[in-house]
């Protein structure tokens, strides 16, 4: 017989084990889906998860995709830890890219060491500005931040579309929806000859280190943790709730904006219509899969980045639709949330022995 018993305390070992379990279950379910679609499950999984990263170029692509995911997820973990549901990182990324791209275009065909820092800073500020809208509306007008941040995603994409088609479009671009190429001084340097991985990865790593320090070594981190557990307790302890809400939104907006900078000033070097394959949404999954822990998020961003690459490879080699990537991402989150049950409940097998 099986009996379910509530644990006295959530199990810490299981806290870090369940993400692994969730990934495993996703692979099993994914294999099953491939089987139903009429593919050989093991071969499909191999094309999805191993082939794309088997060589140097593939590994560079993996890091390229993991960089924005990691950066955004780190930012989101500030929000999620303190019970703020910012789900509009995709919009903050887009707006950050717009502002940073605008600054980069100001320096068109100019060179100088000061250009890149300005471009990066502009991206962070753009993301912060955009994230401040749901934050201010939440704190001063009591407006639901989930819906506002999400609506703003659609708005940001339309602003971008307007700019690259209209006023910012390349005058010599034959009406392609894209801007002029940024000058070399406005671009993040590529790290290796022939590979697309760029210096943006250092921004992500810096975010990891800083967030670890803030979470575990500062008073702010402690306040966030308390607010996450219980808003009542936080209020009782006299924490300035409003200030913190705005601060965590600004941090996560800055991170998303920086991810946007990486997307446009990296290998691409211009603004165009589709700068992000929904990194902002996928990063929500990364944040949860990484357990809102900086190191966990590094691993999670690598795992989830594979689903992007795998979807592309599987499409080329097996004609598996590329949206399978999103299906995998949704499943990872489902299984992760489901296996959290084990955190709070123990499943006991009571033998038939009397």
């Amino acid at each position: 017989m099986i009996k379910i018993v509530k644990r006295d305390q959530p199990s810490r070992a299981i806290f870090f084990f369940t993400p692994v379990l969730a990934i495993f279950l996703t692979l099993v379910a994914g294999g099953l889906i491939f089987f139903i679609l009429g593919f050989k499950p093991f071969e499909a999984l191999k094309f999805f998860f191993i082939v794309p990263i088997a060589d140097k170029y593939g590994f560079s692509e993996l890091l390229l995709k993991a960089t924005p995911l990691c950066l955004i997820a780190i930012g989101l973990s500030f929000c999620f830890k303190s019970n703020n549901w910012n789900i509009g990182a995709e919009g903050q990324l887009t707006f950050g890219a717009i502002v940073s791209g605008g600054v980069a275009l100001l320096f068109y065909e100019q060179e100088g060491f000061y250009i890149l820092p300005l471009v990066i800073l502009a991206g962070a500020i753009g993301g912060m500005l955009y994230a401040s809208i749901p934050a201010i509306l939440k704190t001063y007008f009591n407006t639901n931040e989930i819906l506002v941040s999400l609506m703003l995603v659609y708005v940001s994409k339309l602003i971008l579309d307007y700019l690259v088609v209209g006023p910012w479009s390349n005058p010599e671009g034959f009406n392609f929806p894209e801007t002029r190429q940024f000058s070399d001084s406005a671009k993040l340097p590529l790290l290796f000859e022939g590979l697309r991985i760029h210096a943006g990865i250092f921004l992500a790593l810096a975010a990891v280190v800083i967030s670890w320090f803030v979470f575990y070594k500062t008073y702010l981190g402690f306040q966030m943790k308390v607010s996450g557990f219980s808003l009542k307790t936080a209020r009782y302890a006299g924490y300035k709730g409003k200030k913190m809400i705005i601060l965590v939104f600004l941090i996560s907006g800055a991170c998303a904006g920086l991810a946007g900078v990486g997307e446009i000033t990296g290998p691409i070097g211009q603004l165009h219509r589709e700068i992000s394959p929904d990194y902002g949404f996928t990063a929500i999954i990364v944040a949860f899969l990484g357990r809102l822990h900086p190191v966990g998020i590094i691993f999670a961003s690598l795992v989830v980045a594979i689903t992007y690459l795998g979807a592309e490879t599987a499409q080329i080699f097996m004609q598996i639709p590329k949206y399978t990537g999103q299906v995998f991402q949704g499943m990872i989150l489902f299984f992760l949330l489901a296996s959290d049950y084990l955190l709070f409940f123990k499943i006991k097998f009571i033998g038939s022995k009397k």
Binding site: T143, V148, I159, V165, F288, V327, G330, L337, A338
Partner: protein, 310 residues
């Protein structure tokens, strides 16, 4: 300039038509939320309904199978949400987001083979009465059965919540799950039922889009309507009749945008397209500013998990 009075009627009718999916999905979500469950997966359930309806219509050729199949698909996918949030007690927000991401992925995967296939004509009712009364005729007559159902739904929902015993139970579960449970009501069962009902309505809303409104399958064709439906529930302060008003405003914004483009108003098309989203934000701000009113009308246990220790 002479404006044909029937033309105004047609514009109003087209506003109503674009309000239909919002009304359906919002009324479904309203019941779910009234039982204390916040399902953010409306967009995902809607897009699943859209592809299921279109695919079933193309494969079986039967509109009835397609419509009910889309609702069933909505029910099936919302079962995942119900099982996770009610049985495994997961966080409502995160689970709803997963549902949306998963739904968009699955729909695009299934829909790959249905891109570019023309839709079928959906039968309309009272076509012959359309020209009998000026202005009113085009508004009232010549629409699909789903259209009429959508405009009846807010009233049915209101009656259900206020006047029926089951409606009372739903409200009790949403406002005070503990005391409802003490009264012998199976809270989990009620919430399961409300979630699945919400799934069915979102599925129907999606099917309306892909089978009647723009009869074809386009990837991501719900385009944020699921999220606007969620905002409408807040806008209505959980009152189904007000959903009707909200949906008409948003339907109006969508339609006016088309007409302004047609007349040649010199506003970039992107700004007009962004209008419904911006207005949603403004409306949310205006509604939510009065925090006392919001607190009074929000189901007290909304988004909170309920677990009964046995």
């Amino acid at each position: 300039m002479i404006i044909d009075i029937n033309f105004i009627g047609l514009i109003i009718a087209s506003i109503m038509a674009s309000a239909v999916p919002l009304i359906l999905a919002s009324c479904g979500e309203l019941i779910t939320e009234r039982s204390g469950v916040l399902n953010l997966g409306v967009e995902g359930m809607m897009i699943i309904g859209a592809i299921s309806g279109f695919a079933l219509m193309t494969v079986t050729g039967s509109l009835i199978i397609a419509i009910f199949g889309a609702m069933l698909a909505g029910v099936l996918i919302s079962t995942i949400f119900a099982f996770l949030t009610q049985t495994l007690i997961t966080n409502h927000v995160a689970t709803g987001l997963a549902l949306t991401i998963f739904g968009i992925g699955i729909s695009a995967m299934i829909g790959k083979n249905f891109v570019g296939i023309p839709g079928k004509e959906f039968p309309v009712l009272f076509e012959s009465l359309k020209d009998t009364i000026p202005l009113i005729g085009p508004i009232l007559f010549g629409h699909s059965i789903v259209f009429y159902f959508a405009f009846a739904l807010p009233f049915i929902t209101s009656y259900f919540l206020k006047k029926t015993k089951i409606g009372l139970i739903v409200r009790a579960v949403g406002d005070s799950p503990d005391s409802a449970s003490n009264q012998g009501i199976n809270v989990r069962l009620v919430r399961y039922a409300c979630i699945l009902y919400g799934g069915a309505m979102s599925g129907l809303a999606g099917a309306y889009l892909s089978m009647i409104y723009t009869p074809q399958w386009i990837e991501n064709m719900t385009g944020g309507r699921g999220w606007i439906a969620l905002a409408l529930v807040v806008f209505s302060t959980w009152n189904p009749i007000k959903i009707l008003i909200g949906a008409m405003i948003f339907g109006g914004l969508t339609i006016i945008q088309f007409h302004m483009q047609a007349i040649g108003v010199r506003i970039p098309v992107q700004f007009l397209t962004a209008l419904p989203y911006i207005v949603t934000i403004i409306v949310l701000v205006v509604i939510s500013r009065d925090s006392r009113k919001i607190r009074l009308s929000t189901p007290s246990s909304l988004g909170k998990s309920f677990h009964k220790d046995n």
